[in-house]
């Protein structure tokens, strides 16, 4: 057996290298590989096994699989059967020793069973039978604490159950409270006489009613069925819609919205804006007090003297009359050469002049009423004019009347190229604006300076026919109302500052608030527009109280009042409070409708004017009277 000798040779030849665990490359260049136990060199085997030898060996040697190369000695070692077995066991994770039993039975020494022979024979400690000092000290402390009352005996346990009212804190008045929200299911209506098998005859439908019932939509029907009469209960057939009705009832029960509707009860009166009561806004004119009779034709225009003592009225009967306000006495009548279109008392208290326009003329009249000194000073002012050396070619002729006209008080006559419709004074009383409405003409508005007898045409081109003009009470502005717009011009800068859109068809009259920031416009289509110049170019408010065209509007100088006169014969007085606070919009409350004028030729009130100091309003009408309302 070739196997045996090889095996025995392998183990009997004990060659041990003593170089230790070093990399064997260090001996690569030497012929030996290390040293044996005797210190003799171990030589590398003279063997040059090449690949071919290796392969032949593998093919031919049956022990090749158990041959391993020992690097330490450079020899091939053939493993014995026992060694191969050991390798297998170790690879399987078993103990190397075949005879080792890893599951031997264990002996439990420290069990609960008292053995007759103790495991240890140690005597008991002393402390196990001597009372503990530390514990004694602790107990003493507790006893002391109990004696002192620091520790109290344990309270007896409460036997009461430990629950509470979860909803105790709930507000019983809350709308969403638990019980309030209970909404019972809708109840079915109990059957009545209609449902009876034998209803009283009045419950049975007639043929007409039946037809109506059949034509009605099922939702609209008052009864969902037709009452029918049977001879006896036995004759009643089965109810064909039973299942259907039960089903609908079930749907009602579980689909009906169990929801409380929070309906807000709105009082319709609350929706009306809260306006103060007119009674709280007094004083304002309420009653017709005086009537100034005398004119025989309609009175186009009235004006009050700045002192409030006199009234001037211009009428179509070609006269101008001066009245004493408090007695209605006509103190003076002056005839002029045509129907008077406009009169205006000079607002300056130191000048006594009235401008009267008729036809193409404007005359300045000194009425001779009031303070004599002021009257004579006015006369002096007008007569002191000296003709300038260079005579400018003016479109308006200035002439001094003579003879009777001079005696009557006429001081200056201004002849215009066209008919003058309106005259308006500047607040200081030197400038006078005249309106000659003519669509498309360049000469519609002229401004006269009385002291220098000079005439200016401020606009070279006018858009539309000018209706009326007004000077701003405090700033150098000039307001021109055409048919649809009011233009505000700055006279110093000579430019258009603002253009107010009146939203009406034809403006008839205009008045400027004494504060200067508000303008009212009356129009022939029954509207009165209030403009707040700071707010917008559109009307802040449009009042449509009149039934017919408005002819005149006016502001009071001190009281928060304005009035409008209309063709329906009424004057409507409104409270128009303008606040100094820029954030607060004007308060406009209509307070009184004043009636009195008789409508003549479809014309009612033609002009309104306020008394300068009292809350009184004057109105002139087509019936030839001026009326004072206080």
């Amino acid at each position: 057996m070739p196997f045996r000798p090889a095996f025995s040779r392998c183990f009997s030849w004990d060659i041990r290298n003593t170089v230790g665990n070093i990399p064997m490359e260090w001996y690569k260049d030497y012929p030996h590989i290390g040293y044996d136990l005797d210190g003799k060199k171990i030589f590398k085997p003279i063997r040059n096994k090449d690949e071919l030898d290796e392969f032949l060996d593998k093919m031919e040697n049956p022990d090749y699989w158990r041959t391993i190369h020992d690097k330490m000695t450079g020899t091939d070692v053939c493993l014995s059967d026992e060694q191969v077995d050991l390798v297998h066991r170790l690879q399987q994770g078993k103990f190397g020793d075949v005879n080792f039993n890893e599951y031997e039975p264990a002996i439990d020494f420290f069990s609960n069973e008292v053995m007759i022979h103790p495991v240890t024979n140690r005597p008991a400690d002393k402390r196990s039978f001597i009372p503990s000092l530390i514990e004694k000290e602790k107990v003493g402390k507790l006893v002391h604490a109990i004696k002192m009352g620091w520790i109290k005996p344990r309270r007896p346990k409460e036997t009461a159950p430990q629950y509470y009212d979860l909803w105790a804190k709930e507000d019983p008045n809350a709308i969403l409270g638990r019980h309030k929200m209970h909404i019972p299911a809708p109840k079915m209506r109990l059957p009545g006489h209609e449902e009876s098998y034998n209803p009283p005859p009045e419950y049975l439908l007639t043929d007409e009613e039946r037809q109506v019932w059949e034509q009605q939509d099922p939702d609209e029907r008052k009864l969902s069925f037709l009452p029918q009469k049977y001879l006896s209960l036995r004759a009643v057939p089965a109810f064909s819609r039973f299942i259907q009705e039960r089903f609908e009832r079930c749907l009602d029960l579980y689909l009906c919205p169990r929801q409380r509707k929070m309906r807000v009860n709105v009082n319709p009166e609350d929706l009306i804006p809260k306006l103060p009561r007119p009674r709280d806004l007094q004083p304002f004119p309420t009653l017709q007090s005086l009537v100034y009779h005398g004119h025989s034709s309609l009175i186009r225009s009235i004006s009050i003297s700045p002192s409030g003592q006199w009234l001037v009225s211009g009428s179509d009967d070609c006269t101008v009359r001066f009245w004493e306000v408090c007695t209605t006495r006509c103190l003076k009548t002056m005839e002029v050469g045509g129907p008077v279109k406009s009169v205006a008392w000079n607002p300056a208290p130191s000048i006594s002049l009235v401008a009267v326009s008729y036809g193409e003329n404007v005359i300045l009249v000194n009425p001779g009423l009031g303070d004599r000194l002021i009257c004579s000073a006015t006369d002096q002012l007008i007569s002191s004019y000296e003709e300038p050396e260079e005579v400018k070619d003016q479109q308006v002729q200035w002439a001094v009347p003579e003879g009777k006209a001079q005696e009557q008080g006429q001081r200056l006559i201004l002849t215009h190229p066209k008919a003058v419709k309106q005259v308006s004074w500047h607040g200081r009383g030197d400038y006078l604006a005249c309106v000659m409405p003519d669509d498309g003409s360049s000469l519609q508005v002229v401004i006269h300076q009385v002291s220098r007898r000079r005439t200016q045409n401020p606009f070279h081109r006018n858009k539309g026919a000018v209706q009326c003009v007004s000077f701003h009470p405090s700033r150098p502005y000039f307001l021109v109302a055409t048919q649809r717009y009011v233009r505000v011009y700055n006279l110093i800068k000579q430019e258009l500052t603002k253009k107010l859109m009146a939203n009406c068809k034809w403006i008839s009259s205009m008045a400027v608030h004494p504060g200067g920031d508000n303008v009212i416009c009356g129009s022939y289509d029954c509207r009165l527009a209030w403009f707040d110049l700071d707010l917008s170019t559109k009307p802040y408010k449009v009042l449509r109280h009149h039934k017919k065209a408005l002819r005149g509007v006016a502001y009071h100088k001190h009281y928060p009042l304005f009035a409008s006169g209309s063709d329906d014969g009424t004057v409507i007085v409104c409270h128009g409070m303008v606040y100094n606070d820029l954030l607060q919009n004007p308060l406009i409350v209509p307070v009184k409708v004043l009636k009195g004028h008789i409508i003549t030729h479809d014309l009612g009130v033609l002009d309104v004017a306020f008394h300068p100091t009292q809350p009184w309003v004057f109105s002139s009408g087509a019936d030839g009277t001026v009326r004072l309302f206080t």
Partner: protein, 423 residues
Amino acid sequence: MSQLQARFFTDNKKYVIDDVPFSIPAVSEITDLSNVINKLLEGKNGDHKHVEFDFLVQGQFLRSSLATHLETENISTEEVVEIEYVEKYTAPQPEECIMHDDWISSVEADSEWILTGSYDKTARIWSLEGKAVATVAGHTDVVKGVAWVKRDGLSSLLLTASLDQTVLLWEWSSERNKLRARHCCRGHAGSVDTISVDPTRSKFCSGSWDKMLKIWSAVPTEEEEEEEEESNRPRKKQKTEQLGPTRTPLMTLSGHTEAVSSVLWMDTEELCSASWDHTIRLWDAETGSQKNMLTGSKVFNCISYSPLCHRLATGSTDRHVRLWDPRSKDGSLVLLSLTSHTGWVTAVRWSPSHEQQLISGSLDNLVKLWDTRSCKAPLYDLAAHEDKVLCADWTDCGLILSGGADNKLYTYRYSACLSDAGA
């Protein structure tokens, strides 16, 4: 309620009846009650003549049926109603109607003569019988106020105020019927609407549209003697010279913010003025300072003071006659409003002899005679005027005068019930 218990009493000894409650029908009116009293008096003494009575319940004149009166006055009908009765005031008897050429703006009468100011720029003197005596012409504008200053035998002093801003002091001798302007008082810058002469007859006060009150001396100075000699000049010249030397005011009281409409002297040291600025102001005439102010809500047109009951009556532009206590300190206390007019009240005048009666004239063409115990209805309406009443006066001798825009001055004789001792 058809019957109620009433007890009648009176202070007049002549008409006393038994102090027993009577049961009278509730609907009975003055005439019924008057008949009851007359019946009782006839039963008492046979020679009783029928007398009309007026009845007062708790100081208020009965003007409707008894039941409605008690209801409006809130008087219980359960108890016995105490009714006072007085002899009915006889209606003022119209006497004269004096025609003028123009509106009459002011009137003042004394025991002999009537002085009226007119819109024809003159003032006129009339006898009480309505005879034109003299025409005071000198103003260049409407005469707005007139006043007698004093009577010295046959010569009198009188004042006229006008729209031409002057007040003229005239001397008039009734014997020779000669008028002479003694002084021209210049100083006002507006029309002089009202003048009033003080009780000592030495000063007068004028109120004007220029918001001022001015106090002037009413004593003509002796310098005029020289001018009297010059009065033999040609007539035309005379007229311009007639106005006499100019006089300036002794004192100017300023404070009103609007025109002064009426002024009067309450006594020698106290002035009272009413104005368009809604105030009545009381002034100290010595120092010229304002003492008190009563504030109303409407323009005051006229004012009158009664020394008998110490009250002011004012007429304003809201058709009420209001009574004020000038001594009240809190300013704006209206004691009573007499409401019946329908137009502005332009004239009020207290009775000079009766402490509860006054007259008022209004632009509704009526003059009303009031008793303050009946504030809803006047005693009598004197409806003679056909146009606005502008002025009224009441003389010591029981003559009521009123003038207006119908150019007529009416006079009425009114005896404030001689028998009325209990009022």
